[in-house]
């Protein structure tokens, strides 16, 4: 039970004590993955134990008088004995047992998993064209970034896309294919994808040949909306899930401009209104807005604009801070804005709370419940098989091909569109597909090896939200910005519990509405 706090930086303690803003004392047991509200006397005894005291001995030497606990008052020996017995009960049931944190985080990727994920992938995204009719100031392929694949306005060759899809489709009969019915999402990304509508039409038609009662293809696209008037009937007919990029009102949208610097706002709004009028049902069910946060807008302004004009809650993201040319970093930071900072300035939360997970503190409370309360499991496997017997892969880097695959206009295969080209998984051309599962496995295990020592001392490793590919993992000494020591983790848990304490119906809402079972 006893641990030397001086060793705290080298190992992870089994019990974390924390306090809510409302004054509640809580403990989190790593071994049992459970949070308990605890009486101040129990809290006092655990603190004694953590400070290397022999609690039993301390109790035996205690005279019959009361003990005083600051802020809580006096407690009789009888009460102390009661909570000592509770302390023993928790102890006997493993609450203070050590967890071999390093061993638990020593998971390795294997070739079989990578191959299986490739076969069972759920989403393929094509970079239809590098061309774009806009020149947005913060574009990921613009002047502020220096680590992207060379761009020369190339459009993807349909044969490349077909070659990739063929290789995937033919694997749906192999034993590794784990699904009976399944949705497979085919998405189109740019540049501006509508500049290469012929490719989109050709591929949409092509995959339909493979349609079956069991495999349902869905289509999606992110567009700047300027060409929507020309192709909306096709998109509606094929039920495209549409994401339209727009940063809010005209002033908010000033960074989204044509190549000649002219504003795009009026054209986009005109097209969106036309779509809404012509296909109201499709617009309501299938169209979303995607906004980028910067110094000319705010979360509140963006949400207000879309709710008032289209009764829609937009997806809001920060500008990608990775891959910035060091020479332009100062200039970049002038228009970069953090989501959490912007949301803290929101005056009226009632609109946001229609989608409660958009509120960062609620989102964090939700993830805390998921990861640290022992009653929510990602899948049956983790529920059935005790976590003690399993090891996890460090960081939250997506295992290759698990969620999606991104194919660039050159045929480079990437884990997703947000990942830089140096992390390519393979290439595909008109005649062959070159993906080496063993090489990918080795490469990823190398990445994990570089970061794992930081994970071993991270109290929040289980709820890690850091993708290793975004922290310069290919460099010599990558530093994880999400690392948490004891105090940071204790504060994190305290803040999440405080969120739940502030709103008594929130826990029910999260369990009933978000975690339906």
């Amino acid at each position: 039970m006893k641990e030397n706090r001086n060793e705290k930086s080298k190992q992870v303690e089994s019990v974390i004590l924390f306090k809510s803003e409302g004054g509640g004392n809580y403990l989190y047991s790593k071994k049992n993955n459970q949070i308990l509200l605890i009486h101040p006397v129990l809290h006092y005894l655990i603190k004694l134990d953590q400070s290397d005291n022999d609690v039993k001995n301390w109790l035996e030497n205690l005279d019959n008088g009361d003990i005083h606990i600051e802020n809580y008052g006096h407690f009789s020996k009888e009460i102390i004995i009661h909570y000592y017995n509770k302390f023993k009960l928790l102890s006997e049931n493993g609450y203070f047992d050590k967890v071999d944190h390093a061993n638990r985080l020593s998971g390795r990727l294997n070739k079989k998993t990578v191959k299986s994920n490739f076969i069972n992938t759920s989403s393929v995204v094509f970079e239809v064209t590098q061309n774009c009719n806009l020149k947005c100031v913060y574009c990921g392929y613009g002047k502020y970034y220096n680590d992207y694949e060379k761009r020369n306005g190339r459009s993807i060759c349909p044969k490349i896309a077909k070659r990739y899809l063929d290789s995937l489709f033919k694997l749906w009969n192999v034993p590794e294919f784990r699904s009976f019915t399944k949705k497979v999402h085919i998405a189109f990304y740019g540049g501006e994808p509508l500049l290469n509508i012929d490719f989109i039409k050709e591929i949409t038609q092509y995959v339909k040949k493979f349609d079956s009662p069991n495999i349902i293809f869905t289509f999606g696209m992110t567009t700047n909306g300027t060409l929507l008037h020309k192709y909306m009937d096709f998109l509606v007919e094929n039920k495209f899930e549409l994401g339209i990029s727009l940063d809010g009102c005209e002033r908010n949208n000033e960074y989204r401009v044509y190549k000649n610097g002219r504003s795009t706002f009026k054209t986009i709004i005109k097209n969106v209104r036309y779509l809404q009028e012509k296909h109201p049902e499709y617009f309501e069910k299938t169209v979303n807005f995607i906004s980028v946060l910067h110094n000319k807008n705010s979360v509140e302004e963006i949400v207000d604009f879309f709710i008032k004009n289209f009764n829609k809650m937009p997806i809001i993201s920060e500008i990608n801070p990775g891959g910035i040319d060091p020479k332009k970093k100062v200039e970049f930071l002038k228009f970069f804005k953090k989501y959490n900072e912007s949301i803290n300035q929101v005056k009226d939360f009632t609109i946001l709370k229609k989608n409660i997970l958009r509120v960062p503190e609620i989102k964090e409370a939700f993830y805390m419940i998921m990861n640290y309360c022992g009653f929510i499991y990602k899948d049956f496997r983790s529920f059935y098989f005790s976590p003690d017997n399993r090891s996890f892969i460090p960081t939250s880097t997506c295992v290759p091909f698990y969620k999606k695959t991104f194919i660039t206009a050159y045929g480079t295969v990437l884990p997703c569109e947000s990942v830089r080209h140096k992390y390519a998984l393979g290439v595909v051309d008109e005649s062959r597909i070159n993906i080496n599962f063993q090489q990918i496995t080795d490469k990823y295990n190398e990445y994990y090896d570089k970061i794992k020592n930081q994970c071993f001392t991270c109290y929040n490793a289980k709820r890690c939200g850091v993708c290793a590919l975004t922290i310069g993992i290919d460099g010599d000494k990558p530093i994880c910005y999400g690392h948490m020591d004891y105090d940071a983790f204790s504060n994190y848990l305290g803040s999440c519990i405080s969120t739940l304490e502030k709103n008594s119906s929130l826990y029910k809402k999260l369990i009933k509405e978000v975690l339906i079972s």
Partner: protein, 431 residues
């Protein structure tokens, strides 16, 4: 005490609470202690409030409430049993919370039921945990009536009135697919698996996969010594012996000489063996115990068999009392599991020698071996089947009983006996 003084009454999250009408049960999953509350409306009201998701196992009590004798007694009880306690409200600026034990599994197939979902079948293979293959029937050409023992527990017997066996190539195909599921155990059974036409090929193939393999034989199979010893040799020569277990079954009345011959033969083998005794009456149990002691049989199990005439034996020896249910000390994980799935049936498939595929042998057929893929039958069970979701909370009288999740899940015994509660907890229509 100050008359306006108030306390937060809390229950710890490791405590399971069940309330049915005028009865409540609190069960401490750490020490196995139980607190039953009956016919005390004021206390039942408090327990119901504590259990509400809005209240998260914490409610405020004022002096006028906690001074009431029955409430004071309840508070003392939960404190003594380490189920919860009181916290002075003046210590807190906000109401503290406990994380109430409500199980959610994010990829549960049942999450999607009732919702539009082409994705129900996604990753369905990962739901497969155990598969039982009855590879042959009537292999010994005997024409006696089919023994229904296999409908109560895994037992080596014919499952069809016709002579038949499963096709080896199709078997290999299924086993191959199982490698990509979460399968941890394959059971190989039949009328007499030692007579299976492709036994060597099957055992060799099974040796190539990493899951646990359980083979089932009846001790009378020893009469065919040539095939019996050949089979044991296959197992002995396996490179993955640590993953193999041989279950050998004995029925009473035992053929004494044969019994000792089997024991003598098996005790020198280098494989894990479990000796399984089928029990139909108290005398069978006594005799089995005698044998276990006399021959020093370490690994053994008893399997009660309901033959339609021995209900009294079941009531006397098998039906559970409250004490036995609690003494089994179900863990919180087990209890939570029982709220959403049938723990003894979930993830399991059985393929009979005639090719019929079932989730369990008492449930309707899901498909045909060779015609329907494993993915398809798994999908059918998840979307239309009832076996994996056979919960005590859905059947009477368990639905009305506070012990519903402390009791083991519904098993095939309930089907055989024809009643849902094989316990003494519920009698004369009351708990």
């Amino acid at each position: 005490m100050n008359s306006k003084k108030s306390y937060w009454l809390y229950i710890d999250p490791y405590v399971h609470i069940s309330v049915k009408n005028t009865t409540a049960l609190l069960y401490n999953t750490l020490n196995g202690k139980v607190l039953e509350v009956k016919n005390t409306p004021s206390v039942i009201k408090i327990i119901k409030q504590l259990k509400m998701l809005d209240n998260t196992y914490v409610i405020k009590l004022f002096q006028r409430e906690y001074k009431k004798p029955e409430i004071a007694k309840f508070i003392n009880n939960i404190s003594d049993l380490f189920m919860g306690g009181l916290l002075d409200t003046s210590w807190y600026k906000k109401k503290p919370i406990q994380i109430i034990p409500e199980l959610r599994i994010m990829d549960s197939p049942y999450r999607f039921l009732g919702m539009k979902g082409e994705n129900w079948g996604r990753d369905i293979l990962s739901k497969l945990i155990e598969i039982s293959l009855y590879i042959n029937s009537r292999s010994k050409n005997n024409h006696s009536k089919i023994n229904n023992t296999f409908k109560q527990f895994l037992f080596p017997s014919s499952t069809s009135n016709d002579k038949n066996e499963l096709n080896i190539e199709q078997l290999k195909k299924i086993i191959c697919q199982c490698k990509h599921s979460n399968l941890y155990n394959i059971n190989i059974l039949g009328d007499s698996i030692i007579n299976y036409s492709y036994l060597r090929e099957l055992v060799s193939f099974l040796n190539t996969i990493p899951m646990k393999k359980s083979y089932f034989l009846h001790y009378t199979d020893f009469k065919d010594f040539r095939n019996f010893s050949r089979f044991i040799n296959f197992l002995n020569n396996s490179q993955t012996k640590e993953k193999i277990i041989l279950n050998i079954f004995f029925n009473f009345l035992l053929e004494e000489k044969l019994f000792t011959q089997v024991l003598e033969f098996l005790k020198v083998q280098h494989i894990k063996i479990n000796y399984c005794f089928v029990i139909q009456k108290e005398e069978d149990f006594e005799e089995a115990e005698l044998k276990v002691n006399k021959y020093d049989i370490a690994n053994h199990s008893y399997f009660p068999f309901y033959n339609g005439k021995n209900l009294k034996y079941f009531k006397d020896a098998i039906f559970l009392t409250k004490k036995e249910v609690v003494e089994a000390k179900p863990s919180q994980k087990e209890i939570l599991r029982r709220t959403i799935i049938n723990d003894t049936k979930f993830g399991k498939l059985t393929i009979l020698s005639n090719g019929n595929i079932h989730s369990d042998v008492n449930s309707p057929k899901l498909g045909d071996f060779g015609t329907h893929s494993i993915l398809e039958v798994l999908y059918k069970e998840v979307t239309k089947g009832k076996s994996w979701r056979q919960l005590r909370s859905n059947v009477l009288p368990c639905r009305k009983c506070t012990y519903q999740y402390l009791c083991p899940p519904l098993s095939n015994y309930e089907s055989a006996i024809g009643r849902n509660n094989i316990c003494h907890i519920w009698g004369n229509g009351k708990q």
